[in-house]
Amino acid sequence: MDIPNSETNILNEAFGFLKQMELSMETGAYALGESVSVYMDVWNNQDKKNVSLLVTCYVFGSFSVDWNRIVLLLSETGKESFYFGFFNSKGQVFFPMVPSGSIHITPYNRFTSKLIITPADTGGDEPVDADFSLAAKGTQALNEPVDYPSVDERIHAVIIPADTHIEVMVYSEHRELEGTVVGFAFIDPDNSTIVEQGRITLLQDQTDSKYVKGSWKKRMETAIPLVFIFSDPEENILKDS
């Protein structure tokens, strides 16, 4: 086997496996690729009601990969409850309490930094209804639109900080995606809850026929750091807000 030569190839291969793999509660699941292998390891917890699930993406050749670009959403078949799982730097996600039974794992594209959506500095403590801004906590300051490609680079999500709203715009050069729906969400990573979510239908761009695109706008205010995620068009299980 050859050492993988591109981070995009590795993430793409892992993303594809994570979408396809069927988890057995007895033996887990395994997928082997050119640059990465994925193993879903499952075992019973002591309470006998729940299981633990450890997903390991192993990159051959010790190639370093930014696993922050993927988030896993674990959902029970036929139920509305779900859990988000965040990768560590070694490509592993651990779900400590998963209800034993039929579960489904969906990978999502993740925005790499945490966002804080707060009222802009007004010089006082009282929140003001208008004039919202979007700022990133940590290393990346976000005061202008940021374009974020999906792992397979087919679609792009852009977060646009506007004066009174947050706009999420999704576009693609792949015109065959016209009519498909992209789900997205702002999530609180500490307790796996969705703070805001929506769906965007990709339609022919009226100004530039090369693209299909769609957008969503809403006024948002939160002081906690959020993670932005969006789905592949065919893998959308987030509900309409």
């Binding site: 395994y30 082997l32 292998s37 450890l54 390991t56 051959f60 050749g61 400590p96």
Partner: protein, 517 residues
């Protein structure tokens, strides 16, 4: 055995098999196999009990819902069993063969997510993971807990995090990377460790204490280093081990170890074209190629023993030197769950009490009846290579610069004897004024360079410039003063600086922790 009989076994196994876990697998010959025999007496009652056991085990551990078991699969495994295991032991050993085959031994596995006979069998991989988990939980971790200060208690989930890296390395031990005609593989030594590059692109950062192992598709090559060219042979893998501000490269020439050292900011280059083979297991053990690969497993050895030996080292009772050559140690050298930090095999500083001969870390003799505080002018410092935990909060060990006395091997701080050597013992006046010292040391980078320069000047000073009395003997080792030391031509100054980790103890003052130095 007839194909139809195999189908009957598979049908029974699918509906009646117990949970696939390590306990049931260990009990297979007396548990599930016996159950199948009783349930299917027409099939089991024949002259091929080993084949019956093998097919039952394959149907149980192999993939489910993938159609009948192909005859080529069980016959391939059976041929291997016949070759290496005598008839009486076969039934007890079939499980080993099934797990190994399911994990890809004796065949080329297909890629993808499919759960078929021709892919890796998740059941076999799970049992291999269970064996590895048990080796870590029962053998390696208890030893580490006893031997390494600060090593945490690991839960099952923490251990499973390591297990999967171990198995992938065991199954897929080597990866290739072509280095083309105009390209180079570059090793750079920095204060953070070693940086490996292909041309300008960074491939890996190796921290001090970790290793990188590679070989190549050629027998010999020329490596460009700072001082010229070095001929290297690829009979054995090449091991890159970053130390403190140095990188050690272990080469072999004519089957003999030929290590060479790169200093900070130096680099060496291997020019293409060649194909680099990166070893996934970075233990650096000379027998890694045969002990840490499933493809090299000899069926005469039980699979459990092979896995245990790979994970904890080859000797029965774990020892430091065997453990650092295991497959588990390199992963712990990256991080230790759940607390964070990492393991490192490195020299640490010990002291030997001059009064009671007790060896200890820290600043006070551990002998309850002695408890004498360390004195560099009386007690000897020395180093021992041990495994320690680094990166904890607060740190258990801090890095110190020491010099090894060429006469008594005492590891001393170069400034221990500075005062004694530079100040007149009669009038307490420095032989050299501070402004002169500053001018003298203007171009010197390291403490050793400074002291060497100072030493030369002091040697030219026979008497104290202030009181005119004769200068005392110069000796930089604080245990000096005897004839052996004073006879040394350069005041016991060593050739080079060495780094050792020294234990830190803390005291709590008003709720805050302070290092006890």
């Amino acid at each position: 055995m007839k194909h139809e009989k195999g189908i009957q076994i598979l049908a029974y196994v699918k509906t009646h098999a117990p949970t696939l876990n390590l306990e049931n697998v260990i009990d297979f010959p007396h548990g599930f196999l016996r159950q199948v025999k009783e349930a299917l007496p027409d099939i089991s009652d024949n002259s091929e009990p080993d084949i019956f056991a093998l097919i039952t085990a394959i149907c149980w551990i192999g993939p489910s819902n993938t159609g009948p078991l192909p005859e080529t699969i069980w016959s391939t495994i059976y041929d291997r069993i016949v070759l290496s295991i005598k008839f009486d032991d076969r039934i007890d050993r079939v499980i080993d063969f099934v797990i190994a085959f399911g994990c890809g031994k004796w065949r080329k596995v297909r890629e993808g997510t499919s759960n078929s006979w021709y892919h890796i069998w998740p059941g076999a991989r799970k049992i291999l993971a269970d064996i590895a988990e048990r080796a870590i939980r029962k053998k390696a971790n208890p030893w580490l807990k006893n031997s390494v200060k600060g090593f945490p208690d690991m839960g099952k989930a923490d251990i499973r995090h390591y297990v999967h890296f171990f198995i992938e390395k065991l199954l897929f031990p080597e990866f290739t990377m072509p280095v083309l005609e105009n390209e180079s593989f570059i090793i750079e030594c920095s204060d953070q460790g070693a940086t490996l590059k292909k041309n300008r692109e960074i491939m890996n950062m190796i921290l001090p204490g970790m290793k990188y192992v590679f070989s190549a598709n050629m027998e010999k090559a020329e490596m460009e280093i700072e001082t010229g060219k070095k001929h290297i042979s690829f009979d054995y893998p090449i091991v890159i081990t970053p130390g403190n501000k140095k990188v050690y490269i272990l080469l072999y020439e004519n089957n003999k170890k030929k290590p060479f050292i790169m200093n900070q900011n130096e680099l060496c280059k291997l020019k293409g074209p060649f194909t680099l083979k990166r070893w996934e297991c970075s233990c650096g053990y000379i027998h890694c190629g045969i002990r840490h690969r499933l493809s090299e497993w000899k069926p005469e050895i039980k699979l459990k023993d092979f896995v245990y030996s790979a994970l904890k080292g080859v000797v029965k009772e774990i020892k430091t030197n065997s453990f650092i050559n295991s497959m588990y140690f390199p992963d712990l050298a990256i991080d230790v769950l759940p607390t964070g930090g990492r393991l490192r095999f490195t020299p640490i500083e010990y002291k030997k009490c001059n009064k009671c001969d007790k060896e200890y870390e820290g600043e006070t003799c551990i002998n309850e009846e002695c408890k004498r505080v360390f004195d560099p002018f009386r007690d000897k410092r020395f180093s021992k290579e041990v495994i320690i935990m680094l990166g904890l909060h607060p740190e258990l060990y801090i890095l110190k610069e020491r010099y090894k006395c060429p006469v008594c091997s005492n590891m001393y701080d170069i400034y221990d004897n500075l005062l004694k050597n530079t100040v007149c013992s009669f009038c307490n006046t420095p032989y050299i004024e501070q402004s002169c010292l500053d001018a003298l040391w203007k171009n010197e980078q390291t403490d050793l360079q400074k002291v060497r320069k100072l030493h030369k000047i002091l040697m030219k000073t026979d008497t104290c410039p202030t009181c005119q009395r004769p200068r005392g003997e110069i000796c930089w080792c604080p245990l000096g003063g005897d004839k052996l030391h004073t006879r040394h031509s350069f005041g016991c100054l060593p050739q080079r600086l060495v780094y050792v980790y020294s234990r830190v103890f803390y005291k709590i003052i008003a709720g805050d922790m302070y290092p006890y130095l």
